[in-house]
Amino acid sequence: MMSNYRAVIIGGSAGSFQVITRILSSLPMNYSLPVFLCLHRLKHVRSGFVEALSIKSKLPVVEPDDKDAIKPGIIYLAPANYHMHIELGNRFSLSTEEPVNHSRPSIDLSFMSAAYNYKRKLVGIILSGANRDGAVGLKKVKENGGLTIVQDPVESQVPTMPNACLQIMSVDYKYSTTEIIRFLNKIG
């Protein structure tokens, strides 16, 4: 089916790894959207994460280089110790600016630039996590007309991050992992 959406962005931190791998293993090889993952990770460990996610994913998982063009059907993981932005013209840009919410990559920054670039054609999803990074970013997605989802706090291993979103905005859907998977398969 033709989708109204052009991209999916997912933010997560503590307790989100298993959710992410379940999502990735459910997406079919011909998935039609790019999926951006902004996950909190150790700054000094540059390798291993892509490999760990690739094991579960049918789609290629890559850490983009600066200025790489965005293509559908690819899972893009924000690289260690860089912020990942989406630029107009459908390219990535990376930066080493100061951490935001003690985080680099910061979920807020990735979500804000994606919201600005894709407007109402973006789906933003915040998963389990132990800090508030991502809430302001998800709010920006909503303000720009995009669709917003949080992992149901009842199901989240660490619900601080989804709860932070629910406190500052009205989120469109509160979904379990299974519901997130069903939704993503429907739109792409």
Binding site: D65, Y82, S93, S95, E97
Partner: protein, 276 residues
């Protein structure tokens, strides 16, 4: 506090700076440039772009201050410790086999972090007499910082300390600094001998004759066209056989100079100039 400025306003600010000060930011990557402007405006309590432009245009000293504040900090010493280890163990020794003295260029430095990393490496390798370092920036204030005491928030220093421990196991970074309250003050004598020059690699001519160029995580702030221009200028600043280092997630494969470079290290992004 302003939360966002649009593209039109961003372009107005870029045009005003270019008109008045001949510094052209139109080739910078938009998202991060916008964020820098927002930061400077919010840090200095501006609530309107018009006011901000007015002050920029009428007060050159304020402009210098904002220019310095607006440049992105590298934020840590010994970022990617494996890069610094390879430089120390492989690439510097290789250059020293071919040349008795080495000139290093650090273009567009925005903070003292990388300069300190390099100078600590040089000192620990006993190469002070053989390696000369030139650091450039388009901001004179940032260069002046190198001549003053550089200090860090102690929490930020933990990060550099962790990197340093992965760089060497035979020393402590505390040998190069003193702690006062929650500030860590770097030993300034490390930077003695570092030459500085106000220079803008986006617009100015090459500075030829260098054997090693460290330009890590600077091109991420430029757009693709400007990146190619700067690459050419830096390439022309390098001797044949000279070594060019960029950030681990920067990519120059589509740049015209890449045909004249040999990639020595794909992970750390280290290149060698093969021909003119």
């Amino acid at each position: 506090m302003i939360h966002d400025i649009g593209i039109v306003d961003t372009k107005k600010i870029i045009a005003a700076i270019n008109d008045k000060y001949d510094i052209d930011f139109s080739g910078y990557a938009l998202t991060s440039f916008k964020r820098r402007i927002l930061k400077v405006m919010n840090d200095n309590n501006y609530s309107s772009v018009v006011d901000f432009i007015n002050r920029l245009e009428t007060d050159p000293r304020l402009f210098e201050k904002y220019l310095s504040e607006g440049l992105v900090d590298t934020t840590e010493m010994f970022r990617d410790p494996s890069f610094w280890r390879d430089l120390r163990d492989v690439y510097l020794p290789e250059l020293l086999k071919a040349h008795s003295n080495i000139k290093v260029l650090m273009p567009g430095i925005s903070s003292a972090d990388d300069v300190y990393s390099l100078m600590i490496l040089i000192k620990e390798s006993n190469l002070q007499d053989k390696v000369k370092v030139l650091a450039t920036s388009l901001s004179q204030l940032r260069l002046d910082d190198l001549n003053n005491n550089v200090s860090y928030d102690i929490r930020k220093m933990e990060n550099s300390e962790g990197n340093y421990k992965r760089f060497t196991d035979s020393n402590e970074i505390s040998n190069y600094c003193t702690t006062e309250g929650n500030r860590v003050i770097m030993d300034r004598t490390l930077l003695e001998g570092v030459e500085t020059k106000k220079h803008n690699f986006v617009q100015d001519d090459p500075i030829p004759g260098h054997h090693l160029i460290l330009y890590r995580n600077r091109m991420i702030y430029l757009n693709a066209t400007t990146q190619d221009t700067v690459c050419q200028t830096l390439f022309d600043s390098l001797v044949i056989g000279g070594i060019f280092c960029i950030g681990s997630k920067e990519n120059i494969d589509s740049s015209p100079i890449s045909r004249k470079l040999t990639c020595l290290n794909q992970i750390e992004k280290i290149y060698k100039k093969r021909s003119v």
